[in-house]
């Protein structure tokens, strides 16, 4: 396999509703931004693409991918769509990586989008809930916030996690997003505000949950030779990993913890894993990505993490899956300040999904673009201020997650220059 580099990225600002444009020109905004950032790249030099979008229901349009492909002027180059719920963007990023790593393509464009505004929020929640078993789960009261709420209620029971700790995640991410011009929501909030927000599904309130959005994001990946021609600040994709778990939460087993290099079986005596309190797919994705990148102590060796915080609870659970702390210590981890912007390992310096929004197919690619700019050291150029630039960031992790932890991707990005 060849080394793969990210050479450019672009995001069309996520927003509640883009009624001014249909999805194709919305993707073109992100694509043009990425193309303008590598002026030496011509459309001729692009070998193919991967399209990322989650739902055909939202637009009531099948084969949206090819409509983007032709609008961007990429026909008749090779292309395909990937889909895996909330992790669609992460899967797309890794598929584009594989197209370049295998030698099939030298330059590959990963584009992702979602237009969720075509239906009202509650119909949108109904569509999303169709991503649960329609024989046994959806008809009981299909609602994703309800599913994640049940998972965190068990996390609270097993480990003593509190609603205040969940709220601290929201406060941190909104605080970061305040300096991110791409953020969909800019709020100055306190733990009390989060706790007092209207309850959606106990213990998750309105400010514990990301919003639906319209938006697009684009990543351009290349082999070493093309990367050197296109930019003096390429970012190497050091490794990719992915894990899966059963669709029905009821089916999640009670077995042994999958251990990371810095853990031992003694750490988890008597803990039934993953149950519904942890994401085995996230742990598997992390284990593979760490092994392939030679990471043995993630907290020490990662300079930042952009993870899938569709719910504040998922961020806490994901600290543990990624081994930033042990299982059960996610609540203390947020209290310790370690994931803060000025902490040992900033988590979601961009503001994450909570503040930036979650147009499903674009989200995982948006995380890649923000991580890419961090490692390039170009946050100031793209954000118009450098408040969120992590000084000397050399290695970052991006994490994309499908409900309720069914597909999870983990990719490690590194600064080679």
């Amino acid at each position: 396999m060849r080394d793969v580099y990210m050479v450019s990225g672009g995001v069309s600002k996520f927003t509640k509703a883009r009624t001014d444009k249909t999805f194709q020109p919305m993707v073109k905004e992100a694509f043009d931004y990425a193309m303008n950032d590598v002026p030496n790249l011509t459309i001729d030099q692009i070998d193919g693409s991967v399209a990322s979008y989650f739902s055909d229901h939202f637009q009531r349009q099948l084969m949206s991918g090819i409509m983007v492909q032709d609008y961007l002027g990429l026909c008749p180059k090779e292309s395909k769509r990937v889909e895996g719920g909330g992790a669609t963007g992460g899967l797309c990023f890794q598929t584009a990586w594989a197209d370049v790593a295998s030698g099939r393509q030298d330059v590959c464009v990963a584009y992702g989008f979602e237009t969720m505004s075509h239906v009202n929020t509650w119909k949108g929640n109904e569509f999303i809930a169709l991503a649960s078993d329609t024989n046994y789960d959806y008809p009981v009261g299909g609602f994703y916030t309800g599913y994640y709420a049940m998972m965190v209620v068990r996390h609270m029971y097993e480990f003593g996690t509190t609603r205040e700790q969940l709220a601290m995640v929201s406060v941190k991410n909104y605080q970061n997003a305040f300096h991110n011009p791409y953020a969909q929501k800019k709020l100055k909030i306190t733990v009390k505000d989060v706790l007092n927000a209207p309850m959606v599904a106990y213990p998750l309130g309105m400010l514990d949950i990301c919003v639906m959005s319209d938006g697009a994001a684009v990543c351009i990946l290349a082999d070493e030779k093309m990367a050197a021609k296109l930019t003096d600040k390429p970012v190497r994709i050091a490794s990719v990993g992915c894990g899966t778990d059963a669709m029905r939460m009821a089916d999640r087993p009670h077995g042994e913890v999958i251990l990371l290099p810095h853990e031992s079986p003694n750490d988890y005596k008597g803990l039934k894993y993953p149950g519904v309190h942890s994401f085995r797919a996230g742990r598997m994705g992390a284990k593979l990505a760490y092994e392939r990148a030679g990471i043995t102590n993630p907290l020490e060796e990662l300079d930042f993490v952009e993870l899938h915080d569709a719910y504040t609870s998922s961020e806490i659970q994901t600290y543990e899956d990624l081994g930033l702390c042990k299982y059960g210590e996610g609540g203390q981890f947020i209290e310790s300040g370690k994931p803060n912007l000025d902490g040992v390992c900033p988590v979601n310096p961009s503001g994450g999904l909570l503040a930036c929004g979650h147009p499903v197919g674009a989200t995982g690619l948006m995380q890649a673009v923000f991580a890419f700019w961090q490692l390039q050291g170009t946050i100031d150029k793209h954000f118009g201020n450098d408040k969120l630039q992590i000084q000397n960031a050399k290695r970052g992790l991006i994490h994309s997650h499908a409900g309720t932890g069914t597909y999870v991707t983990v990719s490690i990005l590194e600064k080679p220059f």
Partner: protein
């Protein structure tokens, strides 16, 4: 003091519009506002429960049935016809009608289909000696009364709708 609600709720009732103004000067068209229309969509699916059908037949007869792997012995409270662990074809067995709350939530909002039923409780039920869980509604307790580990018992609708909500749970004591 609680902030007063100063926003009318958004509805999907619209006006039927048969024409819009059009400029003489076509260069003005780029400044046009988007035309947004209502586009209804209704489908009746012909949905087969397939290999899961006995579970629903069971509910109609006030019985809960799960599946058991004859090879590795794994017991599924939510039926799986083939074992996830060894791939064998499973057999049906009768589940107890009493179990414990493994985890729970109270939904104050939901998907559009269930919005009118809010607030409602969801629980995952664990049964003694059974490896996997069952998702169901819990009736009769409010958010601040529900605890993990509480004993619950199954109740069935008299007129079956052939949906998993034909069974629901209530406190056992």
């Amino acid at each position: 003091m609680k902030k007063k609600e100063t926003k009318l709720p958004e509805t999907e009732e619209g006006t039927v519009l048969f024409n819009v103004p059009f400029p003489e000067d076509l260069s003005q068209l780029k400044k046009m506002s988007p035309i947004i229309i209502k586009w209804p969509y209704h489908i009746d699916y012909i949905h087969s429960y397939g290999q899961d059908s006995p579970f629903f037949a069971g509910l109609a007869n006030k019985k809960l049935v799960g599946t058991k792997c004859p090879k590795c012995g794994y017991k599924y409270a939510t039926p799986k016809y083939h074992c996830m662990y060894c791939g064998s074809e499973c057999d049906w067995f009768e589940l107890p009608l009493e179990g414990k709350i493994h985890t729970w939530t109270t939904c104050h909002f939901g998907g559009e289909e269930f919005l009118k039923e809010t607030p409602f409780n969801l629980i995952l039920v664990e049964f003694e000696g059974v490896d996997s869980l069952l998702l169901a509604r819990l009736i009769g307790l409010s958010q601040d009364e529900i605890r993990i580990g509480m004993k619950v018992k199954a109740k069935f609708r008299r007129n079956s709708q052939f949906k998993p909500t034909d069974v629901y749970f209530v406190p056992a004591e």
